[in-house]
């Protein structure tokens, strides 16, 4: 076991803050995944690959001098179309939840290969006006790129939450997730709604990807590094709930950051996965 060192209060506070920031990104990545799994019964591993694809696109646009936030204008509609298209194929072949996992794993491999083919396997870092911006609150440094991520994650999570809760579309989606044939009998056009939702999920992956590019270095093989921890956030929160990934993601981010501060960075994964194991064993109903 590693030595436990109690960090100073300011160091601890700083690591909690960075945990919140990275947790927001977990939440943003998990949002689309959770919606697709919970409401469409499709487990989309390619979600991670889409996020990286979006990250590389915004990187490329930044190289051409375009502001990464402006790249959302391209990324959101393009990824919406990709997601809807993918869902159309899956619905056409009536892919089961488990097979959707395998199919999208295949797609993840294809996209990873594509990224590697275009941008090589080397690390890439998006440089923009925001890259080195930060301000100081008391003893804490607040980096701007991470703050943008946090704001977007909170904004979109609440936005989706409100849509699901208060609009007819949201109610229709939740009804169809409960029992699609009955929902259809009550006049819900589930096919159209599902395409809409699948598109939205992938568009959210795109947004998460742009945030990813703002603060992380990119490499194709990094796609897999996010799978476990984001899944943990999604499961921990419960499927198909808009705010849950953000809350669970933040919880995981903070506990990872504190673990890293107290022990060594290499111990960080154990927190989220132990949490996930306990959730699955003690509250399996949450995820079903």
């Amino acid at each position: 076991m590693p030595g436990f060192t109690l960090p100073s209060a300011s160091l601890l506070a700083q690591s909690i803050l960075s945990g919140i920031f990275v947790g927001a990104l977990y939440g943003l990545m998990g949002l689309g995944l959770s919606l697709s799994w919970g409401l469409l019964r499709l487990i989309n591993l390619a979600h991670f690959a889409f996020a990286f694809l979006a990250a590389y696109v915004s990187y490329q646009l930044a190289v051409a001098g375009i502001d990464p936030l402006l790249s959302l204008v391209v990324v959101v509609p393009a990824f919406f179309a990709i997601g809807a298209g993918l869902h159309w194929v899956m619905a056409r072949f009536a892919v089961t939840p488990f097979n959707s996992l395998l199919l999208t794993f295949g797609l993840m491999g294809v996209i990873e290969a594509g990224i590697q083919g275009v941008w090589t396997a080397d690390f890439r870092k998006l440089e923009s006006v925001y890259s080195h911006m930060k301000f100081k609150v008391g003893v804490l440094y607040v980096p701007i790129p991470e703050l943008i991520t946090l704001v977007l994650a909170v904004g979109f999570s609440f936005g989706v939450w409100a849509v699901l809760r208060y609009t007819d579309l949201g109610k229709a989606l939740r009804a169809a997730a409960e029992d699609a044939p009955i929902a259809a009998a009550f006049g819900i056009d589930q096919k159209r709604n599902a395409l809409l939702l699948a598109g939205t999920c992938t568009a959210l992956a795109g947004i998460a990807g742009v945030c990813l590019a703002l603060s992380f270095t990119l490499a194709p093989a990094q796609i897999y590094a996010w799978v476990g921890v984001v899944f943990a956030a999604v499961m921990l929160g419960g499927l198909g709930r808009a705010l849950a990934p953000l809350i669970a993601g933040t919880l995981i981010g903070v506990s990872e950051a504190v673990t890293m501060a107290v022990t060594a960075p290499s111990w960080a994964p154990i927190v989220s996965f132990t949490l996930l194991i306990f959730v699955l064993l003690l509250r399996p109903g949450r995820a079903a």
């Binding site: 892919v95 488990f98 097979n99 794993f105 797609l107 294809v110 290499s266 699955l280």
Partner: protein
């Protein structure tokens, strides 16, 4: 069928001569990798393919074996071959420890099981990397001598992997054709129904997991020395399980040889791309192949090919019903004609006034039976006695606790309190499969056949686990007689999905009878049937009793209740409301009130 193990061993022996062909060492290594993946994919399939518990934790068990061998070699300088059994053992112990916890949580199935096992992989990986087992930099085994099994190092690894693959395939085949395999396939389709039919589901899953892990651990042990430099990053990942899943799904998870076919195909494919320096294109190609495989052959290559050769399984047309037209008998039966059994008369006849009473020994006695679901009392202390050889009708309005009673007696639910004694033996807290073995069978109101098994296999399974038949073939012969009994012999090779409701209900009956139970619990077998189908069923139920079973009969169809039952008990709000002969009990005011509500004065 019994030729198969000889073919496996024969192929293994033939392949053992490959290193003597004098091919470049590089081919030995390639073939080693093919066999390595054959072992991993086939071992994964034993639990995950057969029983449907898709594990994403194969990397953890593989890694456990790999690091066991590594540690024993690098620190304790064991001879390499001796480390392999230990590697297998460590992996199996890890698997059993995990399974002993996870398999107790009923809802951790399907994708939840996949995620849980994946999480376990990362946890173990993190522990290994942070402890002296690995130390974070990886462990080098370059100074460990490779034993001379073959002519060269590469030939040695090839032969070891060949032996491992032969062993793994033999085990996979043996399980496939055994009772264990039949039980695992039943778990795949409907675990609760399997348990009720006598499959010890918990033990079977643990055994399958232990075997699966041991084989993966052995493969890990061999691979440790093959790599000669081991790191956590390559082992405890999502890529190992996903590759294994990919191979198995591509080849077909419902056959023992499916994963091996997939492993050969994928490894060959990966090689052909890496050899030609198109690693990136290879990755994309594998992804595309996986996508195409899922979309166009979701059952795998092997089943697809089998189907091409065999054509579709013959499905019989509408069979000529061998049942006597029961109409003439229903409702007009004479006392005594239905009791061929010598019944030891105890003749207490408390509260029983019907002329058709059977006064046998008490075969099942429930006393003070309570069952609550989070505050909802489904059974509030009922006392029921079932006597040998009788047909006891269990009546009551919806929600009165009839089905709960069946579920508690059959062990599907555990009683909150109270006692159940069957033939002098307490059944409280016994798992469902023991209750089935004790001689109690049940049907489900909504038939729950094993969807991927044929009608005959469905019944044979019950014969095997509840009845006398020990081996699958004898079970099938026995099962056929039960299909004839229920008039389903023409549908023996059909899938349950091809049956209509009436036939599916009869399949439930055949399955319940196949275990030769002394007590049969029938949960609304007549519900949803047409009047003439009900007549068939009534005649059938009478014949079931005639061949020696006692029957508890939950039913709403009063015509059938009147025609069949010797005695009825009426439940209301989880309590016993009335007991006695059907005609008399149904006229009692409190029973009428329970069914129809109170008349307003």
């Amino acid at each position: 069928m019994r030729r198969t193990p000889l073919v496996i061993v024969g192929a293994g022996i033939l392949l053992a001569f490959v290193p003597r062909l004098g091919l470049p060492a590089f081919y030995d290594s390639l073939l080693y990798l093919v066999l390595h993946w054959v072992v991993l994919a086939t071992s994964w399939n034993i639990l995950s393919g057969y029983a449907g518990y898709f594990s994403f934790g194969h990397g953890a068990f593989f890694g456990a074996g790999l690091y066991t061998t590594t540690t024993l070699l690098a620190r304790y300088e064991w001879p390499f071959l001796w480390t392999l059994p230990v590697a297998a053992l460590v992996a199996a112990v890890l698997g059993v420890a995990l399974g002993a916890v996870v398999f107790r949580v009923k809802s951790v199935r399907g994708e939840l099981f996949a995620l849980l096992t994946l999480a376990v992989t990362f946890v173990i990986g993190t522990i290994v990397v942070n402890t002296p087992l690995d130390g974070g930099q990886g462990v080098s085994l370059s100074s460990v001598p490779v034993p001379t099994v073959g002519r060269s190092q590469s030939a040695t690894f090839y032969l070891l992997a060949l032996a491992a693959a032969t062993l793994t395939l033999l085990i996979a085949w043996a399980i496939f054709v055994s009772k264990l395999g039949a039980g695992l396939f039943a778990i795949h389709d409907d675990e609760d129904a399997a348990e009720v039919m006598g499959v010890p589901t918990y033990r079977y899953k643990l055994i399958a997991l232990a075997i699966s892990c041991a084989l993966a651990g052995m493969a890990g042990g061999i691979h440790a020395l093959f790599l000669s430099y081991v790191t956590v990053g390559e082992v405890f990942t999502i890529t190992v399980p996903l590759t294994v899943v990919l191979m198995s799904v591509l080849g077909g998870t419902r056959h023992w040889a499916g994963p091996a076919v997939g492993a050969v195909a994928i490894t060959a494919l990966m090689y052909s791309f890496t050899a030609a320096d198109h690693a990136v294109a290879g990755k994309a190609a594998i992804g595309l192949i996986l996508i195409a495989a899922i979309l166009f052959m979701p059952d795998g290559i092997l089943l697809r090919v089998q189907r091409l050769f065999r054509g579709r399984a013959p499905v019989g047309g509408p069979h000529p019903s061998s049942l006597p037209q029961a109409g003439e008998r229903a409702g007009a039966r004479e006392p005594g004609e239905d009791h061929p059994l010598p019944l030891a008369g105890e003749g207490r006849g408390e509260g029983v006034r019907s002329p058709t009473i059977v006064a046998g020994n008490v075969i099942l006695r429930a006393r003070g039976l309570h069952k609550s679901f989070k505050g909802v009392r489904a059974l509030a202390g009922v006392d029921v006695e079932v006597r040998q050889g009788e047909i006891l009708g269990l009546l009551g309005p919806n929600g009165s606790g009839k089905s709960t009673f069946i579920n508690v007696v059959s062990g599907h639910y555990r009683a909150t309190s109270g006692e159940i004694v069957f033939e002098g033996r307490s059944l409280v807290d016994e798992p469902a499969h023991r209750i089935a073995a004790a001689g109690i069978a049940r049907t489900y109101q909504i038939p729950r056949p094993f969807a991927h098994l044929s009608v005959l296999e469905n019944v044979a399974l019950a014969t095997m686990f509840g009845g006398a038949a020990a081996d699958p073939r004898q079970a099938e012969r026995e099962a056929m007689t039960w299909l004839e009994f229920t008039g389903l012999e023409g549908k023996a090779l059909a899938r349950p999905a091809d049956l209509n409701l009436h036939q599916r209900k009869f399949l439930e009956l055949a399955r319940a009878l196949a275990s030769r139970p002394r007590l049969v619990l029938l949960d609304e077998v007549l519900c949803g049937l047409t009047p003439s189908e009900i007549d068939d069923a009534v005649a059938l139920i009478r014949r079931i009793r005639d061949q020696g079973s006692t029957i508890v009969f939950v039913e709403h169809v009063m015509r059938a209740v009147m025609a069949l039952t010797d005695r009825v008990v009426v439940f209301n709000h989880g309590e016993l409301l009335a007991e006695g002969g059907a005609t008399e009990v149904m006229q009692r005011p409190e029973v009428v009130t329970a069914y129809l509500g109170k008349a307003h004065a």
